[in-house]
């Protein structure tokens, strides 16, 4: 049989897009940020600060306060005071007005917030502008509406707030994760102590400024910055009623052990290794786009990323050929450029982790394929990567890489793919691509994943509950279900 000649299309050779950077002259950033406790910015007890850098340039942006146990205690006291004296006594309709005001202020500052999010975390301006910031505002809008309707949300169950919530959030969607945590907590009548991730504190601190401006009573929301020990201190604090954590499964397990034997309520949103499943009758070109979005959105720094591709063997060759072709039109580079598709990796630590997995994949015998794009010399960048000919037994198919790396396997029957999709300790999300509606319904009931996307991927909305099964955690954020973790009945 004659060897098929490989036809390739070339892009960006004759027509190169000129740089189109988003303006940064309008943003207001301070050289140093303190802790936001009881409505004011106060110096950290230790007097210590640490640098936050721009992962695309490795340059320092600002100094961030490092909280210690005493600061945690002050914050919790402020939250408790605000809860007892003000927030639990305020009519729900009034609470709603503050939440709504915060939503409007986020919208008004949207451009500034997107630029700062991109500078601090490395994600492309296109994503922070079009996805992160609008969704964050929407969460506040949505939960503002629930504040005075809790009796309707849970008829005959007489829901009551818990008190003080301690919340620890990750670096992949800094402002959005803050919104996911703060909005439902406030709507249900609780007060908050929140710790953003150490590499991405800036938008949480800008949110603190917005909260100040909204007139929210002092102490209702407190934002304390710092490294892991600050979070541990919050988890162990005796006067916190509820812990909400989004982050790695390992830390989640530690937290669950730490609160065992206490009466603290807990919700965890942890890691994932989602299966993105392409059947032979799927709309192939749209499925390829869905695969791309599933793993390269936010540089793959997504807990629900579609990091395991299962493609039915009969269409595998076509899908893989199209994936390789699509890789060539992904622009990797300066996150502030409006045309950048894939920005910077969030930190040196994460970059090293991803590169380590690339080595593991190659050493384990999987075939690595990367885009031919050039990446900037400075900053933390990874080329979008495919691993072909993998199996469930490869480490890159089992362990969460949290980067732009896709492990590709083939499958033959629906029973096989259900078994393999579920054959993972995680259970956060999954994607199903098929033209047959009945097959979608069949799979949604059999896949052990909290979120199943059909003919799409990475779609989020404040009305839609998000959370996992198994080691991806428990509890839901978003929708009516997102109110439950912050209430007692």
């Amino acid at each position: 049989m004659a060897k098929k000649e490989v036809k390739k299309l070339e892009y960006f050779t004759d027509w190169k897009y000129a740089p189109s950077p988003e303006a940064t002259d309008h943003i207001r950033l301070q050289k140093q940020y303190d802790l936001f406790i009881n409505g004011k910015f106060v110096k950290p007890n230790s007097g210590k600060y640490f640098d936050t850098i721009n992962p695309a340039t490795e340059e320092k942006i600002s100094s961030i306060a490092e909280a210690n146990d005493k600061d945690v205690d002050s914050a919790v006291k402020a939250a408790r005071g605000a809860y007892d004296k003000t927030w639990s006594k305020m009519p729900a309709k009034e609470r709603a007005k503050y939440i709504y005001r915060i939503a409007r202020l986020i919208q008004e500052r949207a451009r500034e917030l997107s630029v700062i999010e991109t500078l601090d975390g490395g994600k492309s301006i296109r994503e922070s502008r079009d996805i992160d910031v609008p969704l964050a505002a929407n969460h506040f809008f949505y939960y503002a509406g629930w504040a005075d309707k809790l009796e309707y949300a849970f008829p005959n169950r007489h829901p009551k707030s818990l008190g003080v919530a301690g919340q620890v959030i990750p670096w992949n969607f800094p402002l959005l994760m803050a919104a996911w945590k703060i909005a439902p907590a406030l709507a249900t009548g609780n007060t908050v102590v929140l710790k953003p991730a150490e590499t991405t504190s800036l938008t949480a601190l800008k949110l603190a400024e917005i909260i100040q401006e909204s007139g929210l009573p002092d102490g209702v929301v407190n934002i304390i910055t710092g490294h892991g020990p600050v979070g541990a201190s919050m988890v162990n604090h005796k006067d916190i009623n509820k812990i909400a954590f989004t982050g790695s499964t390992n830390v989640g397990k530690w937290i669950q052990k730490a609160v065992a034997g206490t009466d603290k309520k807990l919700t965890l949103e942890l890691g994932g290794k989602a299966a993105n499943i392409i059947f032979e009758d799927a709309p192939i070109n749209q499925a390829v786009e869905g695969i791309i979005n599933g793993i390269f959105f936010n540089q793959g720094h997504v807990c629900c990323a579609g990091s395991r591709l299962f493609v039915q063997e009969s269409v595998a060759e076509e899908v893989i050929r199209k994936l390789k072709d699509r890789l060539e039109t992904l622009i990797v580079g300066d996150p502030l450029d409006k045309n950048t598709d894939i920005g910077a990796i969030n930190s040196k630590m994460q970059l090293n982790k991803i590169n380590e997995y690339l080595k593991i994949g190659v050493n384990d015998g999987a075939e690595m394929y990367q885009s031919s794009c050039t990446i900037p010399k400075k900053g933390f960048f990874v080329r979008p990567t495919l691993f072909l000919n993998t199996s469930q037994s490869h480490r890159i198919s089992q362990e969460e890489i949290f980067g732009p790396v896709l492990a590709i396997q083939t499958f033959r029957t629906i029973e096989e793919v259900i078994e393999k999709a579920n054959n993972i300790p995680y259970g956060l999300s999954a994607g199903v691509w098929t033209d047959k509606g009945s097959r979608i319904f069949n799979l949604t009931s059999k896949l052990r994943a909290g979120v199943v996307w059909a003919n799409t991927y990475n779609k989020f909305d404040p009305t839609s509950p998000f959370g996992g099964y198994k080691e991806s955690g428990f509890g839901r954020e978003g929708g009516l279900h997102g109110l439950m973790p912050y209430l007692k009945f």
Partner: protein
């Protein structure tokens, strides 16, 4: 190579619309913008298909095609003009010596509701008068009845004829009438396999003309064919594209779907009449820094 047109690939409309929205987030500035504006101008099939067309009207339009805006040096001419068969001779005469081609509609344009015999005669008239390109329409009624082989055969018959004259064939689907993206894909496959040199969206004579989602489906069909055979097929969205911004969005979509090989008027055309002037307005603005009044740009 056998192909069952009942089995053409399915298309997910939501996915297509999202892909289009993603293309539209591209920001084309400075040198890359000027380059694209000039390319778009050079890709226009300047069109007049009115009942009231006369030799005078067509001649004046042909001058515009060759010299879109003499006030700016280095502007390319348009790719072609598009007229009814009875105006082909006039157009050929007016365009003598230039690189602008003459495309003629035929096959009982725009409805296509006539016999094969009449459609062939209509085409032959245009070709005898010197048309370089033929823009034919498919029988949408037969298509919607499921007679895909009928549509294949009629395209092949017109292709045979145009091929004898070394002319190129564009096949118009009238996507507004065949309605779904699945049907657009199916029509694309039928036309491509029947020998179309170009696949084209619309006649411009009904309410719904070219859209980006429809165009993307057609570009995908062209891409699949290229990977199967190595053969290039051209694409022409027609009607409804009147702004430079819109044209640039189409070019981004074309560029990132089919690549550099298609960024040429041999493989991509805009079926438009008022687009040229908005492109010129934008080129003037890039050159001089301000927007001029439309009165500085000729209407022909």
């Amino acid at each position: 190579m056998t192909y069952d047109f009942r089995q053409s690939p399915v298309v997910d409309q939501v996915g297509i619309e999202e892909r289009v929205a993603r293309f539209n987030t591209r920001s084309i500035k400075k040198g890359s913008k000027v380059q694209a504006l000039k390319l778009a101008l050079n890709m226009i099939d300047l069109t007049t298909l009115e009942g009231k067309d006369t030799e005078g009207k067509v001649t004046q339009m042909c001058y515009k095609a060759m010299h879109p805006h003499l006030a700016l040096p280095d502007l390319p001419s348009t790719a072609a003009v598009c007229v009814y068969p009875t105006m082909v001779k006039v157009a050929k005469e007016a365009l003598k010596g230039s690189k602008v081609k003459v495309a003629s509609v035929s096959t009982a344009f725009p409805s296509g509701n006539s016999t094969m015999q009449i459609k062939l005669l209509d085409t032959k008239l245009a070709l005898d008068n010197g048309a370089d390109e033929i823009d034919m329409v498919i029988s949408r009624g037969e298509f919607l009845k499921g007679n895909y082989n009928f549509v294949f055969d009629e395209i092949a018959a017109i292709k045979d004829l145009t091929h004898k004259y070394n002319a190129r064939l564009k096949v118009i689907f009238e996507t507004g009438e065949i309605s779904t993206l699945d049907n657009v894909r199916r029509a694309s496959d039928i036309a491509i396999y029947a020998g179309a040199n170009f696949i084209k969206t619309s006649t411009g004579k009904i309410g719904v003309a070219a859209t980006m989602p429809v165009t993307l489906v057609m570009l995908d069909a062209i891409k699949d064919y290229y990977f199967k055979t190595g053969i290039q097929v051209g694409m022409k969205p027609a009607g409804g594209i009147s702004t430079a911004k819109g044209a640039l969005q189409y070019l981004v979509m074309l560029h990132e779907t089919l690549g550099n090989a298609w960024l040429d008027n041999k493989w991509f055309r805009f079926g438009a009449s008022s687009l040229a002037n908005d492109l010129i307005l934008q080129l003037e603005k890039e050159a001089k820094g301000v927007y001029y009044s439309k009165d500085y740009i000729s209407v022909d």
